[in-house]
Amino acid sequence: MLEIITSILVRTVVAGTPLLLGTMGEVISERAGILNLGVEGMMSLGAATGFIVTFTTGNPWLGLMAATIAGALISVIHAFVTVSLRANQVVSGLALTMLGLGLSGLWGKPYIGRPLTTKMHAIKIPVLSDIPVIGKVLFYQDPYFYLSVALGILVWFLMKHTKVGITVRSVGENPKAAETLGINVARVKYLCVMAGGAFAGMAGAHLSTAYSKSWIEGMTSGRGWIVIALTIFALWEPARAFVGAYVFGGIFVIQYVLQPLGISPNLLAMLPYVTTLGVLLFYGMSKSGKRKMSAPATLGEPYIRGSR
């Protein structure tokens, strides 16, 4: 029994890693007031880029870097269209998803099914990894896990305890107030969207170089959309994003564990999505929940400088 629990937890953490990375990115972007529905596309591009670079150079770290840059670069399109051209963020995000999926499919085609010779191996942290259960879950994982946790904590810290965090959050809540206090709103928004893209790219690289170690079209299989739901689930708080990512990772894992109980695997596969709706509904039912669920005040709205 203990072994099953350990295994579930180990897998939960692994399955939650791309979700955590993606959610952190989307939290940053949405905190600055830009809804980016293109996560699925950016992740996919990250996955393809990460794989191709790892495959050709044999260095998974270069793959990770390339994926991060690719994610950030493609997100610039979204930033330009929504910040500079004030276009509808929903439509632009969807366009980005299509573009990301298309480009990754086009470039990744020759790499479908090719085995990765160099992999990121799990790192065993001495001593700590010998602790029962927790040791295996937290201290014997692939480097992406440690990276995602470190970045997650970093984002949390930046958002909560630094000037940058205050600036970013203010830009999403009240860009006009930020502008009068001398902050370049457009620049903050651009940078935040790009940070979101970079995180999504990393999440993609995790999928193709650490999780599956292979590339195939559509391998993100909806994780980008879950990330967007998770961002609401997390109420735009990086600390809650940890909870959300691992809860959802756990739900993904537990489907297979529960199969012997005779519940239809298809109904189990609905769990992550039903849970999301359930949580939102739970928030939506109560007044205080609604307040909590209230997004950054200007999320989705174009900001026009100097408007009165």
Binding site: H161, K163, R169, S170, K176, A177, L181, I183
Partner: protein
């Protein structure tokens, strides 16, 4: 850091499209002054202050500090020069804590843990000026007065020597206002100076040491407070002979159309803002509601038209009770409404002219029948409105956003009057219009009255009220201070009522 000993604005002129907001304005303020800037809405006070704060560039004129000319291109420049401004609508981030709000964009705060650093500074300043506020609270948890203190702290921490406050007491309870004045006095002692924009005579008298009155972009008077009385100020503010009334048919008011009794309404913040109002508007009558804006006029109108819940009391329309009925039900009973914010409520900017010409009436015959819209007929109707009300538009097929403000207002008015409502409620219908358009709209209001309609006119423009109304009610802090007959009344009286003095005796005339 050199402090502001003396600040002068000289010969400031500023025009917006077609409107001269400031004409050759001079202003001087010295260290330790609390200068009251008095005037009606639209008198140009806020424009002048926005120039001082670097938000607008003046067309002409200069600003000097301690004798040196100052170039203000953005709020950053004015902040650097030691000028701080607190807007009527606070520039605060509701979901953030006080600390975070003050730390935002604060140059001296460290990168890591800026809150910790700010907390020390805030405590220091709180003690110095008596600005008590819990730094860890979120803004939305604070009362308006506390939020204002945050704004003041924000300005002071940015080394504001001169603090501009735009109608600071309009959102405060009397107790909070007293606390604010206490803070301001402390600031003066510390060598700061304050410019207070207000149209409340009482508070200007009680806190300021100097006053400057503006009307229509010009300075109409400046004095030391000790040399003037409330009545003097009221005269300076309104201060002119009322020009002749428009011609009106000599008809006695008919049966009552709108009866409001003991109506109480809450503001968006959930505080009582209309308090126990009772009044009647009859056929062939224009009832004006005078008063400085923000005294509950807007909420009153919204409650009557079904856009806001009333807490207590009743509203009856031609004998039928319509309290808290839906906007559509009330409209169907014959109330038409020219809303205050015409762009926000009254029209749909991206829809075409003809589509806007039936907004709110689109569900009625003959404009729609069996769920279908009769667009040919609507277009004819629009043509007639455009012709009758002289709406200047390229075509009825252009989006309304292409029209100027005056033309939008004419369109709305035309739409609301054309259907011969039993009651027309018009809120600030001529606000921001040029003289010709305003005159035209006033005449239309009168002719609606002459044809047997009842009109409730909310306006800040006393001249307008005197010219068109049969009776004028003055609202102050959610209450009716008195109802007067314009043909038989002293303008000072109204000024005093607007400033909160209740007048017994005159009361209802019918």
């Amino acid at each position: 850091m050199k402090r502001i000993e003396k600040l002068e604005m000289k010969g400031i002129c500023k025009s917006f499209v077609g409107v001269r907001a400031n004409r050759n304005v001079d202003l001087t303020i010295e260290k330790g002054d609390i200068l009251g800037l008095l005037g009606e809405n639209g008198a140009g006070k806020t424009t002048l202050m926005n120039i001082l704060y670097g938000l607008y560039m003046p067309d002409e004129g200069q600003v000097h500090v301690n004798g040196q000319p100052l170039h203000l291109k953005s709020p950053k420049d004015s902040m650097k020069a030691g000028i701080g401004m607190i807007h009527q609508h606070f520039m605060l981030i509701q979901k953030h804590t006080v600390l975070e709000n003050i730390a935002l964009g604060y140059a001296d705060a460290p990168f890591f843990f800026p809150q910790k650093y700010m907390r020390k500074r805030i405590e220091e300043y709180s003690r110095k000026f008596g600005l008590e506020v819990d730094p860890d609270k979120k803004i939305w948890e604070l009362s308006a007065g506390e939020q204002q203190r945050v704004e003041i702290l924000k300005a002071l921490l940015r080394n504001a020597d001169l603090l501009i406050m735009d109608e600071p007491t309009s959102v405060l309870t009397p107790l909070e206002a007293d606390e604010l004045f206490e803070i301001l006095r402390k600031m003066i002692k510390e060598g700061h100076s304050v410019i207070l924009i207000s149209h409340k005579l009482e508070e200007i008298i009680s806190i300021c040491n100097r006053v400057m009155v503006m009307r229509k972009g010009e300075v109409t008077g400046a004095a030391e407070i000790k040399d003037v009385t409330k009545v003097d100020l009221a005269r300076m503010m309104i201060g002119r002979e009322i020009s002749a009334s428009y011609e009106k048919a000599d008809i006695r008011p008919g049966e009552p159309v709108l009866e409001i009794s003991s109506l109480s309404v809450n503001s968006d913040q959930g505080l009582p803002i209309v308090k126990n109002i009772t009044m009647t508007v009859s056929r062939n009558e224009i009832l004006g509601i005078a008063g400085v804006s923000g005294n509950g006029q807007r909420e009153l109108v919204e409650a009557v038209t079904g856009l806001r819940r009333s807490e207590e009391g009743t509203v009856s329309l031609q004998g039928r009770e319509v309290t808290n009925k839906s906007a559509r039900t009330i409209h169907n009973l014959g109330i038409n409404h020219v809303p205050e914010e015409r762009i926000k409520f009254g029209t749909v900017a991206n829809l075409q002219l003809f589509e806007n010409s039936v907004l709110k009436k689109h569900h009625e015959k003959p404009f729609s029948k069996n769920m279908l819209m009769n667009y040919p007929l609507i277009k004819n109707h629009t043509d007639s409105i455009i012709e009758k009300f002289h709406v200047d538009a390229a075509s009825i097929n252009v989006p309304v956003k292409n029209l100027s403000g005056g033309n939008i207002q004419k369109l709305i008015l035309g739409r609301e009057i054309a259907s011969e409502p039993s009651l027309l409620i018009a809120a600030h219908p001529t606000y921001g219009l040029d003289v010709g358009a305003a005159e035209y709209i006033r005449k239309e209001l009168i002719s609606a009255r002459d044809r047997g309609g009842a009109v409730l006119l909310v306006s800040e423009d006393l001249e307008e009220l005197f010219q068109v109304c049969d009776r004028i009610a003055v609202m102050f802090e959610g209450k009716i201070m008195g109802i007067v007959d314009p043909s038989n009344c002293d303008i000072d009286e109204i000024g005093l009522m607007m400033a909160g003095t209740s007048f017994e005796g005159k009361g209802e005339t019918n």
